[in-house]
């Protein structure tokens, strides 16, 4: 009888112990689920905010375009305001394409050989890319305007740019949004160190007024014969 009672007691205690362990795990699990759900919820909320911003921006662009197009529609009728608007848009596209000579604040970088070290295509490509990355809006290398398909390639003693031969020293001019100019200079600083490490003579000058020539289209360096427009 006594043994039976002790046995029963032991059983109950064991059960209690097992339950306690299970319980502990279950509570922990419940908590982790809750925090996971919360985290996913946070992510979803962030996504909503991001999309909302994107939508607002697009909405604005759409409205601006709609307004422009209402004016545009009057071009055919010869409305002078409409024609002016069209010319404005055309000019913007021309500037963007590099078909206009432009002026602005920017930087001038010169690269020169320092025998036996010579300026290679990769050096110029690096500088040009860095300038683009730091917000340059127009770039020229030895007055050769950099356009969409401008290639830069070493060929013997020369470097070919827009299909024309150029020799050192190279003058790279860039107009950057004044707000980004300081950053541009800083970023270029890193590239300059690399160039000097390669033994080149490098100088950088900041200027409030730089003039960058337009791209001269003689019909040979820009070809579009294989391109069919898709609206």
């Amino acid at each position: 009888m006594k043994i039976a009672r002790n046995l029963a007691m032991m059983l109950v205690c064991m059960l209690l112990g097992i339950m306690l362990a299970l319980q502990y795990r279950s509570v922990n699990y419940n908590q982790s689920i809750a925090s996971l759900e919360n985290k996913r919820l946070e992510e979803l909320k962030e996504e909503v905010i991001r999309l909302q911003n994107q939508k607002n921006e697009l909405q604005e662009r759409y409205q601006k375009l709609e307004e422009e197009n209402q004016t545009f529609a009057r071009v055919k009728a010869g409305d002078s305001e409409a024609v002016q608007q069209l010319k404005n848009n055309l000019l913007k596209a021309r500037i963007f394409a590099g078909l206009e000579t432009v002026r602005g604040a920017g930087i001038i970088i010169t690269l020169d050989d320092d025998y036996p070290w010579a300026v290679m295509d990769a050096h110029i490509l690096d500088v040009v890319n860095e300038l683009r990355a730091s917000g340059a809006q127009a770039i020229s290398v030895n007055d050769e305007r950099v356009v969409a398909m401008t290639e830069i390639r070493s060929a013997g003693d020369y470097i070919m740019i827009n299909g024309k031969q150029h020799k050192a020293p190279f003058t790279i001019k860039a107009i950057a949004n004044p707000n980004y100019l300081e950053r541009a200079l800083m970023m270029i600083g890193g590239v300059v160190e690399n160039l000097e490490g390669d033994g080149l003579k490098v100088s950088i000058k900041k200027s409030d007024e730089i003039i960058i020539n337009k791209f001269v289209d003689d019909g040979t360096s820009i070809r579009t014969d294989l391109l069919t427009p898709v609206e």
């Binding site: 009672r5 007691m9 205690c13 209690l16 319980q23 509570v27 419940n30 908590q31 689920i33 809750a34 759900e37 919360n38 919820l41 979803l44 996504e47 999309l51 909302q52 697009l58 759409y62 709609e66 422009e68 197009n69 071009v75 055919k76 024609v83 069209l86 848009n89 000019l91 913007k92 596209a93 500037i95 963007f96 394409a97 590099g98 206009e100 432009v102 002026r103 602005g104 604040a105 690096d126 990355a133 340059a136 809006q137 127009a138 770039i139 950099v146 356009v147 398909m149 401008t150 290639e151 830069i152 107009i175 289209d217 820009i222 579009t224 294989l226 391109l227 427009p229 898709v230 609206e231």
Partner: protein, 241 residues
């Protein structure tokens, strides 16, 4: 003593048991309630996301339509001017500079980081860098490419390709591997130039996956900033010459 003691013990045991049950019940109920509430919120958010995505799609389509309309009006206007130089320049602006989508023959290059890395070599050798992309892009231009896109981003005059951790930024947008470079031009010339280029040879040496395909028809979409050019020319003032 025995009877009493065991009764006390039983009392405590059952008290504990009761407390445990209450605790458990509370935790489970709480979790359920939280999960249910979260699920409801999550569903609502998901719905909102789908809706927003639809709106964005529609807006994009509407914007594209408007740009096409403008281009059409500009084209008609230029035709009326009867100015060959102007017409040619408009072609350059649209096709070469990337303000409209284009179609044509060319090649597609797909690059992906190496799966197998040789031990003892710096891991940087087995991934694709921004300068690799730049070199390939320049090689394509040299070989006469007329339009190029990297992961769908049209290459325009001021397109940058810079490294940002494991991704590359092009036209201000970030892209991870694999990198897909599409180029319109003479497919044979482009293929030959790229396939035998030093850069591709080098990448293959390090197990980088390189796939080059000739295609009859590649479609490259217009520059993603085509309708907000102001942003890209704000610091430029035209000099009359």
């Amino acid at each position: 003593m025995n009877k009493r003691a065991s009764r006390h013990i039983s009392f405590i045991v059952f008290l504990l048991l009761g407390m445990l049950m209450a605790w458990q019940l509370k935790s489970t109920l709480n979790a359920r309630r939280a999960a249910a509430a979260n699920a409801l919120d999550a569903n609502m958010l998901r719905e909102q996301i789908t809706e927003l995505q639809q709106d964005i799609e529609e807006l994009r389509a509407a914007i594209d339509e408007n740009i096409a309309l403008q281009n059409e009006i500009i084209r008609e206007y230029i035709e009326l001017q009867n100015d060959d130089r102007m017409s040619r320049e408009w072609e350059v602006i649209k096709l070469h500079t990337g303000l409209v989508g284009v179609e044509g023959p060319g090649i597609t290059i797909t690059l992906d980081d190496a799966q197998v890395r040789e031990p003892g070599m710096p891991s940087g050798f087995f991934i694709i860098h921004d300068f690799d992309i730049r070199t390939i892009l320049n090689d394509l231009k040299i070989a006469g490419a007329q339009a190029v896109a990297i992961n769908g981003e049209r290459v325009v005059p001021m397109s940058e390709q810079i490294c940002a951790g494991p991704t590359i930024i092009i036209n201000g947008n970030r892209y991870p591997v694999p990198y897909v470079i599409e180029a319109i031009g003479d497919p044979d010339e482009l293929y030959e130039a790229i396939n035998t280029s030093f850069k591709i040879y080098e990448l293959r040496q390090f197990n980088i996956k390189v796939d080059i395909k000739k295609t009859d028809k590649i479609r490259i979409s217009k520059f993603s900033g085509a309708d907000k050019l102001d942003r890209f020319i704000s610091g430029l003032e035209v000099v009359e010459k």
